[in-house]
C-alpha cells in the first residue's frame, strides 16, 4: 500500500472540508472495499477521510412508513435493527447475507451504495425501494443515482450521509451467491407499494444494477410467482463470464425473481 494521510471526521461537513483541503483525498468508511483496493495498489489516495464515526452519518430512524438509515451504519447494525425489521424485514435479511460476519461488522451501507459494485446487494434494494440517496449537498433518487457499473451520480468529493425509503407493503430479496466470493451472481429485490411493483436486479446485468420492466409489468397486475412465467430479461444484456453465460444469468434472474415474490408473500 502506498502511504497516505489519515483523518478522522466528526461530521459530514467536517469530512467535506478535510476532502477539499486534500490533494487527492478519498472517503474511507468501513474500508472493506477500499483497503483491499489500496493493498493491491489499484488506488493510492493522498488522504483518507474516515467517516465511520461521523455523528450525523450514524443512526436509524423509522417514522410512520419512512425508514432513514445513516450512511455509516454497518451491515451488522442494519441486519440487527429490530425497528427496521418490524417494517421492512427484507433489507435486514439482505444486510445479514452480505459477505461474512467480520465484513458486516465494518462495511457500511454508504460505502456499498457509493461503490456500486455490479455484484453488490444494497444497490438492488435502493433501486427497488425507490430510495432517496441523501448527500451533503442534495437528494438523489435511486433511479438517477446508479449510472453503470462502479459508477454513480456522485460528484467529486460528494458524501452520502443517509438513505431513506418508504417501507413496501410486500418486499423480499433473493440472492444466488457466487460459491467462491459470496457476492451476488444474481440478486433480485422485489417491492410492492401503492405506486406499483418495482423489481431490481444486481449481479447479472452487464452494466450493473437495473430494473426489470417486463417483470414489473407482469407483477403489477398479478403479484405471484407464476405471473413471471412469460416475463424475460434480454440475455444479451447480461454478464457473461466463467461463472455463467448470459443465457444462464437471464434464467437465473427469473428464478430469483420468483423466489423473491414467493418470499414476499
Amino acid at each position: 500500500m502506498h502511504n497516505t494521510k489519515y483523518h478522522k471526521a466528526g461530521s459530514a461537513a467536517d469530512a467535506a472540508s478535510l476532502l477539499s483541503g486534500a490533494d487527492d483525498g478519498t472517503v474511507l468508511a468501513g474500508g472493506q472495499t477500499l483497503i483491499p483496493t489500496m493493498k493491491a495498489r489499484l488506488a493510492a489516495p493522498s488522504d483518507l477521510v474516515d467517516v465511520s464515526c461521523a455523528s450525523d452519518m450514524r443512526g436509524i430512524s423509522v417514522s410512520g412508513n419512512t425508514v432513514t438509515i445513516g450512511a455509516a451504519m454497518t451491515h451488522a447494525e442494519v441486519a440487527g435493527s429490530s425497528e427496521v425489521r418490524a417494517i421492512c424485514p427484507a433489507i435486514c435479511d439482505l444486510a445479514s447475507n452480505i459477505g461474512d460476519p467480520a465484513v458486516r461488522n465494518r462495511g457500511t451501507l454508504g460505502g456499498s451504495v457509493a461503490n456500486n459494485d455490479p455484484a453488490a446487494d444494497y444497490p438492488a434494494a435502493m433501486l427497488a425501494l425507490g430510495a432517496t440517496i441523501k448527500t451533503n449537498t442534495r437528494d438523489i433518487a435511486a433511479d438517477d443515482f446508479f449510472t453503470g457499473m462502479f459508477d454513480t451520480a456522485l460528484d467529486e468529493g460528494e458524501i452520502i450521509t443517509s438513505v431513506s425509503f418508504t417501507a413496501p407493503s410486500k418486499g423480499a430479496y433473493a440472492k444466488f451467491p457466487n460459491p467462491a466470493s459470496r457476492y451476488a451472481m444474481c440478486g433480485v429485490f422485489v417491492a410492492s407499494t401503492d405506486a406499483g411493483v418495482r423489481v431490481a436486479v444486481t449481479g447479472a446485468g452487464s452494466d450493473g444494477v437495473f430494473r426489470a420492466g417486463d417483470m414489473e409489468a407482469a407483477l403489477g397486475s398479478d403479484f405471484s410467482a407464476s405471473a413471471l412465467d412469460g416475463a424475460t430479461v434480454d440475455a444479451g444484456d447480461m454478464l457473461s463470464d466463467l461463472h455463467g453465460d448470459g443465457v444462464y444469468r437471464a434464467n437465473l434472474v427469473k428464478v430469483m425473481a420468483k423466489r423473491a415474490v414467493t418470499a414476499a408473500g
Binding site: T4, K5, D100, P101, S181
Partner: protein, 156 residues
C-alpha cells in the same frame, strides 16, 4: 506518522506508526503478537480475525490508526490461566491440521457464540457453517472445526 494508543489484551500500548500501517501489521510487527495470521491479501480468509471493541474484524482490512482508542483482543488474550473453552474444544475435537487458520477460527468462533447467546438464538450446525463463511481452512474440510465450535457453544 501518527501516534496510536489502544488496549491490546488488557494492556495499554502506544506507538508511532505510518498511517498506512494495517492493524494486523501493528499487532504482529510492532507488538510481536504473531498468533494473528495473514493468509491472503484479498480480505477473504479470516486468518487475521481479532476482536475490536468486542466485535470480530479482519485486522488485515483495517488501519491501525482507525483502531486508535479501541480495545483489541487477539488469540494471545483469550486464555485466562487455563485455555479458553473454545481453545480446549479445538484441542478435544482435533479441530485443526496445520493450524494456520486456527487463531482466526477461534476468534470467529468466540464471536459467534457470544452473539448468538446475547440474541438468545441457538447456534446449530447450519448456523455455524453460515457464520464461518469468512474463515477459510485449506486442510480440515471444516467438519471438526464445526464440532469444536458446537462443543464450546455448550460450555461458554
Amino acid at each position: 506518522m501518527t501516534t496510536v494508543s489502544m488496549t491490546v489484551n488488557g494492556k495499554a500500548v502506544s506507538a508511532d506508526v505510518e498511517d498506512r500501517t494495517l492493524l494486523v501489521d501493528y499487532i504482529r510487527e510492532h507488538l510481536r503478537l504473531t498468533g494473528t495470521h495473514v493468509g491472503c491479501d484479498t480480505s477473504q480468509c479470516g486468518a487475521c480475525v481479532v476482536h475490536v471493541d468486542g466485535k470480530a474484524m479482519k485486522a488485515c482490512t483495517m488501519l491501525a490508526v482507525t483502531a486508535d482508542g479501541a480495545d483489541v483482543t487477539t488469540i494471545e488474550g483469550v486464555a485466562n490461566g487455563d485455555l479458553h473453552p473454545m481453545q480446549k474444544a479445538f484441542n478435544d475435537n482435533h479441530g485443526l491440521q496445520c493450524g494456520f487458520c486456527t487463531p482466526g477460527m477461534i476468534m470467529s468462533g468466540i464471536d459467534m457464540v457470544n452473539r448468538y447467546k446475547a440474541d438468545g438464538k441457538t447456534l446449530d450446525e447450519t448456523a455455524i457453517r453460515h457464520e464461518l463463511e469468512g474463515n477459510i481452512c485449506r486442510c480440515t474440510g471444516y467438519h471438526n472445526i464445526v464440532k469444536s465450535i458446537q462443543q464450546a457453544a455448550g460450555e461458554m
